[in-house]
Symmetry: C2
C-alpha cells in the first residue's frame, strides 16, 4: 500500500507538474541572483542560503545545479566574463576590419559609465578581491585581467597603425600603462562614484589616448 501510494504520488508528480527545468536557464537564474547579492551586499554575503532566498529557490535546488559554493561563484564569474567579453569582442572585430571606431568608445565598454557597466565593475572588483584569499577563483579573475590587456593591445596597435599614436611607442609598456589606468578608473568609479564621475573618467581616458601621439 505504501509502495502503491508512492508510485501514485510519483506518477501524479510526473504528469501534473512535469518539472521540466532548463538547466542552462536555471544556472543563469542563479548567477543573476549571485550578481544582485554581490552588488547590493558584497561578495561575502553571497552564501548559498542568501542566494537561494534572492533566487526564490530552495537551497537544495541550488545544490542540485552547483556542487559547492565555489562552483556557484565561479559560474557567476564566468557568466560575467562571457557577457563583457562578447561586447568587447564585437568592438575588437570592428577594429580589425579597419572600422574607424574611436578607441575611447571601445575602451569605455570596461569602464563603469552607466548602471549596467557599473554593476559589472562592482562584480569584477568583488570577485577579483575575493580571489586573493580564495585560490579557486584566481584563474577566473585572471581571465578578466587578461581581457583588459587584450583589448588595450588591440587599441594601441590600431592607433599606431593609423597614426594616432607615435610609431616609436614601446607598445607592450603602453598596453600595461593603459590597462592599469583603466583598472584604476574602474576601481575609483566603483568605490568613489561621486568623485570619479563618468564625465571625469571619460576626460581622463581621452587625455591619455590623446597623449600617445
Amino acid at each position: 500500500m505504501t509502495l502503491l501510494l508512492k508510485l501514485a504520488g510519483s506518477c501524479y508528480k510526473e504528469e501534473v507538474s512535469p518539472r521540466v527545468v532548463d538547466p542552462v536557464a536555471r544556472r543563469q537564474h542563479v548567477a543573476e541572483a549571485v550578481f544582485r547579492v554581490v552588488v547590493r551586499d558584497g561578495v561575502e554575503q553571497a552564501s548559498l542560503r542568501n542566494v537561494a532566498v534572492e533566487a526564490g529557490l530552495a537551497i537544495g535546488s541550488i545544490r542540485h545545479y552547483f556542487d559547492s559554493h565555489d562552483a556557484m561563484i565561479i559560474f557567476a564569474v564566468e557568466a560575467l566574463v562571457d557577457s563583457i567579453g562578447a561586447r568587447v569582442l564585437a568592438h575588437v572585430e570592428a577594429l580589425s576590419a579597419g572600422e574607424g571606431r574611436p578607441a575611447v568608445r571601445v575602451l569605455s565598454e570596461v569602464l563603469p559609465l552607466d548602471g549596467r557597466r557599473r554593476d559589472e565593475a562592482v562584480l569584477w572588483l568583488a570577485f577579483a578581491t575575493a580571489a586573493r584569499t580564495r585560490p579557486g577563483l584566481l584563474p577566473h579573475a585572471e581571465r578578466l585581467y587578461d581581457g583588459v590587456r587584450f583589448i588595450c593591445d588591440k587599441v594601441v596597435r590600431r592607433m599606431v597603425a593609423e597614426g594616432t599614436a607615435a610609431a616609436d611607442l614601446d607598445v607592450q609598456l603602453e598596453v600595461e600603462r593603459l590597462a592599469s589606468l583603466l583598472d584604476g578608473l574602474t576601481v575609483d568609479g566603483v568605490l568613489h562614484p561621486d568623485r570619479m564621475t563618468p564625465e571625469l573618467t571619460v576626460s581622463v581616458l581621452e587625455r591619455h589616448l590623446g597623449s600617445l601621439r
Copy 2:
C-alpha cells in the same frame, strides 16, 4: 563573607597583577591583529572573535577598548592612514623645500613594491571595498583617496615648476590621471602580483612621468 572575599580578591588583583595597561598601546595591538587577519583572510574574517584570537586577548578585552566592530575596523583604517600619511608627508615636505627628490621615489610610497607596502595596499583595497557596502567606513576610505590626490598634486606641480613636465599641462586633469594610474597599479599589484611585478610597476610609472614633458 562574600563581600570580604570579593574585596580580598580585588586587593589581590590590584597588588599582584596591577594590570596597568596602556590604552594607546592596547588599541594599537588590536589594530595590528586586525591588519594580520585582513591581509591573511580578507576583511570579512576580521570579526571581534577572530581578532581577539589573533591578538591573544579575551573578546571582552577588545570590547573594553572598542564600542563596536565598526569602531575597531575604523581605528585600524585610521592607523593605516596615519602610517602611510606620515611617510608621504615627509616626502612632500622635502619637495616643498626644493629638494631634488625624484617624483618616482615619492609616489613609490603608495605602491606595493615590497612586503610592507604590499600589506598596506592589501589593507587599503580591503577597507575601501568594504566601505562600498558599509557607509561608516566611507569617510575613512575617502581620506586615503584624497591622500593619493594630494601627493599627485604636489608632484605634478613640482614637475611643472622644475620643467620636467610641460608648462601648459591641465594640472587638475593630470593629477586625476596620475592618481588613477597609481590606484590601478596598486590594485593590479595586490591582486595579480605575478603579473604586475614591482619592476613592471616602476617601469610603467617612470614611463608615465617621463611622458609629461
